[in-house]
Structures are given as structure tokens and as C-alpha cells.
């Protein structure tokens, strides 16, 4: 099966500029996650979707971050405006149920964002 696809792989922007990341999950996976991975750290959940509904966005900085998952398939994560501290790798993951023991998370290769 094709894996989780993310684009772009790299993005360099100046602070205060907007940026968007795109994710195409594994076909049939109804649950989609956006994680942020800071340098030298483990991934931290930003938002989780079940189909097109955002069921956990408690960790999403809503003043500047937004996400959508139209039609319950592809998803876009946006930052506007970007700050220096947003530099990180943004990972998308998907799972077929809820990511627990019976359905592990499958991660994409991430988008490395550098804010200058």
C-alpha cells in the first residue's frame, strides 16, 4: 500500500509569512493526525481528525494555526503568520481506527519548516 504522502518536503519562509502543508493519508484510513516534531524531541500531537471532523485540537495554537480535512481524505495545515519558534518538522500520520494497539499510526516523511 502507498504510504502517507506529504508535501512539500522542505519549506523556508520569513517570519510573519503564511505557510501551508499538505497530507494525503493511506487509502481507507479514516483517522488523520498532525504532529509537530521539534529538533531532538519526539512528535507532539497538534490535531486529530476522524473523517472530516476535528475531534482533538486542544494542542493546536489556534491564534495562528488552522487545519482542514475536506471530504475526509486529504488535509492541509496552515500557519499564519509564522514565527521563528514554528521551525520544526510537521508530520502527518493516519490510522484506520484510532491508532491504538490494533491500528498503529503510519507517519509520512514530514515537512521541514525553517522560519528565518
Amino acid at each position: 500500500e502507498a504510504g502517507v504522502v506529504q508535501s512539500p518536503r522542505y519549506k523556508i519562509i520569513e517570519k510573519k509569512q503564511p505557510v501551508a502543508f499538505w497530507c494525503n493519508p493511506i487509502s481507507g484510513h479514516n483517522t488523520l493526525y498532525w504532529y509537530r516534531q521539534n529538533l531532538g524531541q519526539g512528535p507532539e500531537l497538534l490535531i486529530r481528525y476522524e473523517n472530516e471532523e476535528a475531534v482533538d485540537d486542544s494542542q493546536l495554537p489556534k491564534d495562528r494555526f488552522s487545519a482542514e480535512r475536506l471530504k475526509g481524505v486529504d488535509s492541509t495545515l496552515k500557519i499564519q503568520p509564522a514565527e521563528l519558534g514554528d521551525s520544526a518538522v510537521y508530520l502527518c500520520a493516519s490510522s484506520s481506527i484510532n491508532g491504538g494497539g490494533n491500528s498503529p499510526l503510519h507517519f509520512g516523511n514530514g515537512t521541514r519548516l525553517t522560519v528565518t
Partner: protein, 113 residues
């Protein structure tokens, strides 16, 4: 109560040696403990996972040891190979219902030939 503490931060092992990475969790409600392997430029990939009803799980050269009373679990890589050089993340979550994995900070493993 949601933290997962991982050690060491980095590890150097000779080829053929045993690599051991440790994790400790706080929330006793966690019942799903996966390990993820991440190569540079790639996303994390599930390596092996355990539930607390067993004390050990082995898959090939990879073994998870689980100590429920101590709230600790560890990954053992037997006969470590240069191809095992990667960053390893432990995590903790729930096997049913909503699963919000809490990841450790990672261990960078280098296996020298």
C-alpha cells in the same frame, strides 16, 4: 502525569552488541506501549509494541521488557547492526478508544562496525 521519560539521549554500540533504551511513564491508565524507529529524513515507523498484560515481547532481534509496578519499559536490540542506527522513540497511550500517544524525547543510536 502525561510525560514519558526516555534515556539515554544517545547511545553508541559496537556491531554485535546489545542496545538498551529505557522509558518511564507516569499515567497508570496507559495500556499500549509502542516503540518507533526513525531514520534521518523519514517519519517514525512502528517497530514493536506491548501491552501490560505481558512482561516481555520479542520480534526478531527486538525485545520489549515491561515492568508494570515500576512503570518502566525498555527496548533491547540484540546483535546490533549498523543498519539499526536511527533514532528510537518510546510512546505510551491507550489500546482502545481514543489514542493520544505521548512520545519520549528519543534516543539516537549509532552502531559502529
Amino acid at each position: 502525569q502525561q510525560q514519558v521519560k526516555q534515556s539515554p539521549q544517545s547511545l553508541i554500540v559496537q556491531k554485535g552488541g546489545i542496545s538498551i533504551i529505557n522509558c518511564a511513564y507516569e499515567n497508570t491508565a496507559f495500556d499500549y506501549f509502542p516503540w518507533y524507529q526513525q531514520f534521518p529524513g523519514k517519519g517514525p515507523a512502528l517497530l514493536i509494541a506491548i501491552r501490560p498484560d505481558v512482561s516481555e515481547k520479542k520480534e526478531g532481534r527486538f525485545t520489549i521488557s515491561f515492568n508494570k509496578s515500576a512503570k518502566q519499559f525498555s527496548l533491547h536490540i540484540m546483535d546490533s547492526q549498523p543498519g539499526d542506527s536511527a533514532t528510537y522513540f518510546c510512546a505510551a497511550g491507550f489500546s482502545g478508544g481514543y489514542n493520544k500517544l505521548i512520545f519520549g524525547a528519543g534516543t539516537r543510536l549509532a552502531v559502529h562496525p
